[in-house]
């Protein structure tokens, strides 16, 4: 799995951090999401898919 994050689209909802905390974080200055792991392990895959599905700004792109 490959994950891409478009920070320009991010609206700081925090959904990615709530649902896949091992893969995403947020910047201190504005809460914009930060991608910690671009190629997460299989045991993170469900969390990442959930994060992408819940992102209100469609800022997370997952390539399986």
């Amino acid at each position: 799995m490959k994950v891409r994050l478009d920070q320009d689209r991010c609206v700081s909802s925090g959904q990615c951090v709530l649902n896949a905390p091992a893969v995403f974080d947020q910047r201190d200055e504005d809460g914009v999401a930060v991608l910690l792991v671009a190629d997460p392990d299989e045991d993170q895959a469900d969390d990442v898919r959930q994060a992408a599905a819940l992102c209100p700004a469609l800022a997370i792109l997952v390539e399986e």
Partner: protein, 400 residues
Amino acid sequence: MVHDTLAAFPMSRAARCPFDPPPGLHDLRDQARLTRVRLWDGSTPWLVTRHAEQRALLADPRVSSDATRPGYPFPGPARPGADKIGFILMDDPEHARLRRMVTAPFAIRRVEALRPAVQKIVDDLIDDLLAGPKPVDLVEAFALPVPSLVICRLLGVPYADHDLFQSHSRNLISRSVPVEERNASFRALHDYLSRLLEQKVTRPGDDLLSQLVARVEAGELTLADAAGIGVLLLIAGHETTANMIALGTLVLLEQPDQLALLRDGEDPKLVAGAVEELLRFLNITHTGLRRVALADIEIAGVIVRAGEGLIFANDIANRDPDAFPEPAALDLTRDARRHVAFGFGVHQCLGQPLARMELQVVYSTLYRRIPTLRRATGLDDIPFKNDGQVYGVYELPVSW
């Protein structure tokens, strides 16, 4: 099209089903995924009823929140200037520029750092409840103070002024208060926030309003814009959560098996899931999210033309059987995370992490500490907020 045959929107709930969306909305949802409705001013925007189409269109950049565009479907004659009510009635890039000025305190880590303080606020208010007379109005004594104290702390607004901002907020989101009175309440709140911001120029604190003052001094924001953002955050920060606390408690008292899950369970995951399900089930923003199309958009077999209004009834989308099996059942153990109670797209609720945390603390504490909590009046005697933009109860007399 013969517009006088169209259903009027918004619609009324069935008197005996105060927790469910109006029956007329269910009918429209079953008839078409998008359908035209008639508004107070005779305009006939599209009503989007289904979960899938709501998510698709709310995240579509061809769908605008700019209330100055012709065709924008206003909920009523009150039209505060788009520049005065924060950034909710505008589009990117200006919307994103302003919104990002206030997103930092709502990041998950920052909100989690507030959790012990919120727990103390909740515990102290319950101590007061238990020491005071009963029956007591849970709205006045608990549901309203919890989020008001929290948002005051976050913004740097003195809680001592809560009567002022709570009463003006109530006016502002009511549909039964005359336009002139609502406009006056808006001006009063705007003036109040302006004065607070001016005080913080010389006496800044560790709060969001002080950070907005720094933006004003840096020339990134006018004082009027800063006050508008303050009004938005202050209203949204207390009214919505307060209604979720009171209405959530009422529906749980009606369904004791569900309440027992929260009262007797220890698992934070169950509590977090319960909050999502209550958000889905109650969906307190019940007059629809408003947008206008910027281009012709083909969706679900219809073409929404550029300049046509769109209303997203998120309450009925959260009861969409394609998204949530057995949607009419309140089931705190279901995975309800895809609900659209906070909206969807770039305008999705800014305060959602804070609202979630506050509701998790409240729902996991109140019923455990007062296990015999009960309604002190008949369900028929509870005054529901049928006339507001935000649903809930005006009063909830309880005892134990």
